[in-house]
């Protein structure tokens, strides 16, 4: 009975997050679900407290990163990057794609997937439109790299942040092990996008790039991000947890940019933080009542190459069914038992896998297809074809690269 109830609550959380009904916001469903599961005794109070204690620092870390990225936006970093890409492209779409790759890969790695999706992609769209060139290759590149370029650092993706604590790795070692898989993912994306859009990228833009204004580069924001990153890398040497370095970076950024309190709170996305905490508790309950055993029975143990490949593929499959956040929460405890190599292989799966569909999971895609059955705008056959060309290859190649890195680094 407890199994059914806890799985039903998990399903309700996911359904609310995917369908987004006005009368039942996802964060409220997750929070109420967590409280009810404790009240009816399916999850013990101490179990819930342990889950929150594990997730608390990660959620704080996430809030600091969101504030940091928002500060960069406020300082005009993304607009400056847009102008820099436009000027650097010299009106050639293939050069613009190369600049978009560079900027999206670094933005995702340093400021997280969210920054690329929410803050950079609109700028890239506007840049391509202003240059009067087809925006499709560039917007698709951003969308793909937001996932596949999020392999590099613990701060690149919430999934990494969740796994970072469990992996037991230092920030620098995490980045060191994931550098090769990250480069391999970028190379695969580059080859596939460059070939798929060869026709679109051939012709120079028909608008002179002299029309582009050159805004000043926000050096202060860049310096804060650079120092924060340096602090992350040195965190284990200086003995300060990365979450405090992120907090310091966010505080400096807020002190400089001075956003209105309401804007500051909005930037930290409190409802999302509540959702993550609630979902974490609900998944803990489901894990204790059978889900963990089920995952344990399908997930291989050990860090041999075949085991890592299977972990990546299973993680990608679960991420595509449910979305990568719940997939991470479900698989992480089982993968962590096999050591840091298994945790990183899981991240290859949950980070690269969602590129199969443009909304990140089949659940979301199906829902959108039902709701927008007659709306042709949601037909994304071309995007899915790109996903089919990149995801299977990237899953295997990145996992092999990870395995190599584990032998050497």
């Amino acid at each position: 009975m407890s199994e059914v109830v806890s799985l039903a609550f998990l399903a309700a959380c996911l359904a609310a997050a995917v369908a987004r009904p006005r009368w039942a916001p996802d964060w409220a469903v997750a929070a109420v679900g967590a409280v009810v599961l404790v009240l009816v005794g399916i999850l013990s109070f101490s179990g819930a407290r342990a889950a929150l204690r594990e997730l608390g620092p990660t959620v704080g870390f996430l809030a600091a990163l969101l504030v940091l990225a928002d500060g960069c936006r406020r300082a005009g970093l993304f607009d400056a990057l847009g102008a820099w890409m436009a000027i650097g492209s010299r009106g050639l779409p293939s050069r613009l794609l190369a600049m978009v790759f560079l900027v999206a890969a670094v933005t995702t790695a340093v400021l997280s997937l969210d920054a690329t999706v929410v803050l950079l992609t609109p700028v890239v769209f506007a840049t391509a439109a202003r240059l009067r060139t087809n925006a499709r290759p560039h917007v698709y590149a951003c969308t793909h790299l937001a996932n596949s370029a999020s392999l590099l650092l613990p701060v690149s993706n919430l999934t990494n942040l969740l796994a970072f604590r469990a992996s037991g790795l230092s920030f620098a070692r995490f980045g060191g092990l994931m550098a090769l898989p990250w480069l391999v993912a970028l190379a695969i994306e580059w080859v596939v996008l460059r070939r798929s859009f060869a026709g679109d990228l051939r012709r120079p833009a028909t608008r002179s790039i002299r029309a582009v204004e050159r805004p000043e580069l926000p050096t202060f924001a860049l310096a804060v991000v650079g120092l924060t990153l340096a602090g992350f890398v040195l965190s284990s040497l200086i003995g300060i947890a990365p979450v405090w370095i992120a907090t310091a970076g966010a505080v400096v950024m807020v002190a400089r940019e001075r956003p209105a309190p309401a804007d500051l709170v909005r930037a930290a996305e409190p409802t999302f933080l509540v959702f993550v905490l609630g979902l974490g508790v609900v998944v803990r309950a489901a894990s204790q009542h059978g889900l963990s055993t089920a995952v344990d029975s399908i997930l291989p143990h050990g860090t041999t190459l075949p085991a890592l490949l299977l972990i990546a593929v299973v993680s990608a499959a679960v991420a595509n069914l449910l979305n990568n956040l719940p997939a991470t929460l479900i698989i992480l405890p089982v993968a962590a038992a096999s050591g840091s190599g298994a945790v990183l292989a899981m991240l290859v799966g949950v980070n690269v896998g969602p590129n199969l569909t443009y909304v990140g999971s089949l659940a979301t895609l199906l829902w959108r297809r039902i709701v927008h059955a007659h709306d042709e705008e949601t037909d994304m056959a071309e995007f899915t074809r790109l996903g089919l060309l990149t995801v299977p290859v990237a899953l295997v190649a990145c996992t092999v690269a990870l395995w190599l890195a584990l032998q050497v680094v």
Binding site: L14, D26, L119, P122, A126, N134, V139, D200, F272, R368
Partner: protein, 160 residues
């Protein structure tokens, strides 16, 4: 004669030039631009991609405004280059479907190859291919640059 000239970012100059060269002065010409709303949607409403996140819309002009402004500017430039009376139409939606729909009542659709610069099926991108295959009228298909020579034709397949 009623003609629709498809003005797209990459190839509009050739379409305008060839329309001027081939169309009689008496032709009623419509210069058509279509803004791809799927890309705009992807770039401005990322919510569904980020489970549980409801990011506020980015400040600054909405992407729709930028797209509309650029479409109007492009159509104005096309009209100036055409240098004859012409109507301009800016549509929004799925590009290939909108082009086909807009050429519904017309006698001729003018569009350009947008793929590789050699003879063969790859000289057409997927959206142009769709418009060509489904055009409900006569079609004038132009090369955006000098047509490639006959020697650029792919060799015949060696099946036997």
């Amino acid at each position: 004669m009623r003609a629709v000239v498809w003005i797209s970012e990459d190839t509009w100059e050739a379409c305008v030039d060839q329309a001027r060269a081939f169309l009689p002065r008496s032709a009623e010409v419509t210069l058509l631009h279509v803004a791809p709303t799927d890309l705009e949607e992807m770039a401005s409403h990322p919510g569904p991609r980020l489970l549980g996140r409801h990011p506020p819309p980015p400040p600054g002009p909405p992407l729709r405004a930028i797209a509309d402004e650029e479409a109007q500017a492009l159509l104005a430039e096309a009209q100036a280059r055409f240098a004859r009376p012409a109507q301009t139409v800016a549509r929004r939606g799925r590009i290939e479907r909108e082009v086909v729909e807009a050429s519904g009542g017309a006698d001729l659709l003018v569009l350009a190859r947008d793929g590789e610069a050699r003879l063969g099926p790859k000289s057409l991108g997927p959206r142009t291919r769709f418009a060509l295959d489904h055009a409900p009228c006569q079609v004038l298909l132009v090369w955006p640059e000098q047509p490639p020579g006959i020697e650029s034709i792919p060799p015949p397949p060696h099946l036997r």
